[in-house]
Structure formats: C-alpha cells, structure tokens
Symmetry: C2
Subunit: 348 residues, 2 copies
DNA sequence: GAAAGTCACGAAAACGTTTTCGTGTTAAGA
DNA sequence: TCTTAACACGAAAACGTTTTCGTGACTTTC
C-alpha cells in the first residue's frame, strides 16, 4: 500500500527543490528542457497527481458544488441532479449531495457542514418544513459569507438569489385548458396545501384556465391534500379521499393532479368505479416521471424538464463563481423553464 | 460579504497567538479559564467554524466518501444512495457522487478525479461497459494507493474488496418456485445478456427452481435482451420481442422478469393478447421499484432492499476507514442481502 | 576585463489547522 | 535566598501546493 507520491518526494528523489518540480510539471519556461523532461518522466512513471485538498486550500476554491435536496428517491430530484452533474463535470466541478429529508434542521446542519470550506456554492430546493416555518436565515447567512446559492423549483421571494423555476402557473393552465378543449365540463383539481409554492401556483393556473373559459370554479371539485404526512405510507387514505371526490361529484369528467401519484390514484379510483379513462374521465398529471410513461393507460402529463433545470442551475452557479466581479454586482436572475404537455393515453 | 473568520484573525484581534486560540477552542487544560472564556465568547460571536479543507489537509482524511454509480435516475441506485447518506451522515461523513453513465472511461475519469485527496474511500457499482471489457485496473490501482473500495450489486470476483450483493440466485429461485407452487406449468424468463452478473445469477436461479421441480427448461421460453441498447428508447422493440415470446408459447402461464420494466411490458402484452393477469398468466419481477407498487395490477416482485444495501456498504467502508489496523489485515467481506418476495396482485 | 544581462534554480511565504516542544513568570519548598 | 515545579502561553513544524522573489553562475557587450 504505497501512498500517493507528492512533490516533496519527487524533489528529494531527483535532488532538486520542490519549486523546481512544481514548475517543471506546469511546463514553466523558467526550467531547462533537460530537467523538465527528467522530472516529467519521473512524475508520469509514478503517476503523480496534485492533491486536490492542498490545491483547494491554496486557491481557496474547491471546484465542488453542493446540492441540498429534500430527498433523492424521487424521479424529479434525481433528474435534476443528473443535469447538474452533467454540466458540473463538463466544467471541472464535482458534486456533493446533502439530503434534508424535508426537515428544516437537517437542512441547516447539512448546509453548515458543507459551507465551511467544502464547497464553492449551493444548488438547493427547500424542504417543506422550511417553507412552512418561513425561516430563511441559513440561506442569507451563507450568502453573506460570500457563498452563492441557486435555488430551484421550491423557491421563495424572500431570499434574494439566482433561481430556476418551472412555469407552474402556465403549465397547469395549459393542462386544464387541454381538458376543456377536449370537452370536459367538470374538472377536479387534486393539489397540495398552499404553503408548498408550486402547489399554489398550479392551483392558480387551474383557476385561471377555468375563468378564461367562463367556467365557475367549484370548491367541492378541489381536493387539497396535506402532504406533511408521508404519502407513500398513506396511500389507502389518499385513495379514500379521491374516491369520495368522485362520488360527491358524479358528473366529474376530468382530473388535473399536481403530481404523478395523485393522477395515478385518480385513474385507479376511476377504474374501480367503472369509469373508463379517457372516455369517461380524462386525467392529466404534473411531472414527467417514470410512472406516467409506464402506467396503463399511460398518463398525459405536464413535463417540467427536470434535467434541463439542473443544467441551468449549474450553469448559473458556475457562471457566478467564475465571474471576477462578484463583489458588488448584486444582480440575480430567475430562469423560468417552460413546460410541455406530453400527451399520452389518458386524454382523448 | 465578510469572509469566514479564521484562527489567525481571532488571534490578532485578541492579541494572543494562534496556538492559544486553537487550544482555547478545543478546551485545552493548558489555557487559563479567563482566556478560554474570552476566546470562546469571541469565537461564538463571530460564528467561528474550523475550515474543513485545512483540517482535511492536516489530518489527511476528508471524512467524505465517494459514490460512483452508472446512473442516478434509477430507483434502485437512488435508494442505495439514500442508505449510504443516512449512515454516512450519522457517522460524520459527507457523500460525493460521480456518475459513470454506464461508460468505462467516465468511470475511470471520475474515480481519478476523486481519488486525489477528495475522498477517503469509494462505494461503487460498476458500469456495464466495465463489466463487458473486464478491465479492472482502476479499481486495483485505487486500492494499492490505500484507498478502500466497497462494491455493491454489480460485482466481480476478480476485484478483491468488500462487497455487498443481493442474493440474486435465491431471489430468482424463490420467485420461480412461487410461480410453480401457484400452478404455473410453462414459465418464461425475460433476462439480460450474461455479462451482467446479476442477470446471469437470476437466470441460474430460474433454472435451479425448474430443476428442483422436475420441469425441464426450454430454450424457447428464455428471452435474453441485449441491454447495450438504451431500453428507454427501444420500448416498442422490446414489446415486440416479448409479444413474440407469448405468441410462440401459447401455453405460457407464468413470467419471471429480471427487472420491473420487462415485467410491466409482459403484463401489457398479456393484456393486449386478451390474457388476464393473474388468472391466465402470473408475473413476477425483480427490484422493489416504484413502478411495481403503482402498476395495475400491482406487480409481485423480489425486493432487493436497496436502501439496506447502501447502509451496509457505508458501514463496511467507514468501519474499514476507522480501523487502525488497515495495514496488513487484508480480510474482505462479502455481505449478502437476502431478498423478500413481495406479493401483490400479479400473482394468485 | 569589468558591467550588464540571461539563465536555471532555490528559499520562503501563503492557504488554515493542530500539536509538540520550548520558555518566561510566578509560587512553593528547603 | 536559591532551586524546583507548576502554570500559561508562544514559536514552529507539518499537511501539499503555487508563486514571488532572490541569487549564483554564466554569457554577452564594450
């Protein structure tokens, strides 16, 4: 088990100084051709690679970016990571991840852990608990210390930083518009409680689409799910709620759900009640996850281009990191990713 | 934008030496109570936190572990990461990820990038290309330099290191046994080409189960899919192949597939051909992914406990990192995670 | 043959820590 | 009063780099 070789060892071995070795390996004109070749050959032989940690300490930058997300076992988030990793790698950066698990305190701890020199900047999506508590001090403190943050998807206007968001409002509007076009007269919305910003925006899009077509919204058609419960564990309860929605609205012929699971459950309930999708009731979901594609019937969805979001976020962050003038130019961008309606079998 | 405060600044501010500050903050008995309190108060006021990079350089350990996986947008892998992150965090480690994208060269590059001081050890699952090329020099070189590796799921006996694997053989055997118990007489296998070790083992399990029940295997019941094509892009082709399998075996009444997608497609084809699942044909898949749970009918699967694999791998790695005697005790463990059959609606 | 310039290299500082080993001051013991 | 011990602190090295500056040996120039 031989340790990695260092400049010092090469220097001692070849009987020159450390500086000479360093310069030779960086091909400095200061060093004669002879010594350069000798040193480079030796270095190659022993497979010398500069120690990243030492470089980080010297340069005061790690070329690593930190991602903090609520959970990783989630198609949307892993797709975002994938995008971040793609451009990060292309531009010579590593990616380190921290999971908040939707908990405020884990988010704070994770950020503090990484902020002490481990990374150059953050890409993050807030935990539900943080959104609920509206406590953003850790973001602001991080930024005051000169560490840039790019937020995606779950953002909040109280924090001034670069952001990448999905056009939730128009995505929802487009989807509901499609249902109306397709002849739906009674369209239900299955959404989350309002403190989740994206749920709120999608709800507004739903309402706007109705209004535009002179269809008065009805409170009994809107089902707001409390997501503080882990819904994977409460699938039956959820199903019950949705079944009730169907039963108290017998004329229901369209459903817009703010995520895949809700949409799939709606289809399941519909089938159970003897309704055919898409002939009796049409369903559209949000998020281009893997479930939508492989469901039967496959689900029409509003695609949020998660990977593209990740790429954009990484570009924003790295651009900021590499701009010299990060002293006073406090201009923050918000990039809006437009959504697409991916039509599949659950709509006509 | 104030930079993070350092020991040196505190020392200058309080007119003591750097050593004194360091010792005071670590509560050394060498320093008088008075000075300790003064320094600690000052440090707390300015929210001092030691710089991780400097610590890493000094201690020659980063308390960070690297994960290299083929892709992250995959329920199994993200679940594993989730497990790794859980115990890593609990034990004071960070997690940094590299994606090989199933490519040999990206795997090599990523590992080299991280091996130069950025991390203390690897947890990884090999890319398909690496498995095909059978070129393992990068693993061996990494280990020679004193950096431990724990492999999971896709492993190979040529590399001597700690491993965490799924009991693919018995999992498959159990599944096929279940189908036989349930009365299936003609059971198809949908698997991958043999170079993917897990595919091979699951195939052997299938054969063993048949043999144990005195059912001769038939070549026409075994469909080997070439996974070098990205199957997400070749779903139709895949479906065709499976349809052919059904048509050339009209008495088919059971299907064992080595992953979710194949199993779902089998169900889809069955439905298309007018066969009821599970009454006419029963289906079992491998991997407890999200698709199985939400499919209709929901899919009976062999659960591999991905999260548990990740936890185990992390424990193995960290234990090795923290054992003092990592000099000569070249004992490598292979932990086998037993599978469970999760029965759902696709079997009787 | 002396002044000036070029060449090739080394010494040392710096990044932010921790830790070992002094060292000066004071108090206790003889 | 002198020695010794305890106490409280500082200097410096070390981790592995890069880079600035200095310097000795040679070569060129008049």
């Amino acid at each position: 088990m031989k340790r990695k070789i260092t400049l010092k060892q090469i220097a001692r071995e070849l009987d020159v100084s450390i500086s000479t070795v360093s310069k030779a390996l960086r091909n400095s004109a200061e060093i004669s051709e002879d010594t350069k070749q000798k040193i480079q050959a030796f270095a190659k032989l022993y497979n010398y690679r500069p120690n990243n940690i030492a470089l980080s300490l010297k340069n005061r930058r790690t070329n690593t970016i930190g991602i903090i997300i609520p959970e990783i076992v989630h198609h949307f988030f892993s797709k975002v990571i994938s995008g971040v990793e793609l451009v990060a790698n292309k531009r010579g950066y590593n990616v380190i991840i921290g999971l908040s698990n939707e908990s405020f305190s884990k988010e704070v701890i994770n950020m503090e852990m990484l902020a002490n020199g481990s990374i150059d900047g953050f890409i993050l999506s807030m935990s539900k608990e943080t959104l609920k508590l509206q406590d953003y001090h850790h973001f602001n403190e991080t930024m005051t210390q000169g560490m840039p943050i790019v937020m995606f998807d779950r953002v909040v206007s109280d924090v001034k930083c670069d952001k990448v968001i999905v056009d939730d409002f128009n995505g929802a509007k487009k989807a509901v518009g499609k249902l109306i076009e397709n002849g739906c007269k009674s369209i239900a919305l299955i959404t989350t409680k309002d403190y989740v910003s994206v749920g709120k925006l999608r709800t507004q899009g739903y309402l706007e689409a109705l209004e535009e077509h002179q269809m008065p919204p009805k409170a009994e058609l809107i089902l707001k799910i409390d997501e503080s419960l882990d819904y994977e564990a409460h699938l039956e309860g959820l199903e019950k709620e949705i079944e009730q929605l169907f039963q108290s609205n017998p004329k229901l012929d369209g459903v817009f759900a703010v995520n895949e699971i809700y949409a799939l459950l709606a289809m399941k309930v519909a089938r159970k009640l003897g309704l055919d999708v898409p002939n009796d009731v049409q369903v559209i979901g949000f998020t281009d996850g893997v479930l939508s594609k492989h469901a039967t019937p496959s689900l029409t969805t509003v695609s949020q281009h998660a990977q593209h979001m990740g790429e954009k976020a990484a570009e924003l962050l790295i651009d900021k990191l590499e701009s010299e003038f990060n002293s006073a130019d406090e201009v923050f961008q918000t990039v809006v990713i437009t959504t697409d309606l991916v039509e599949r079998e659950s709509t006509k």
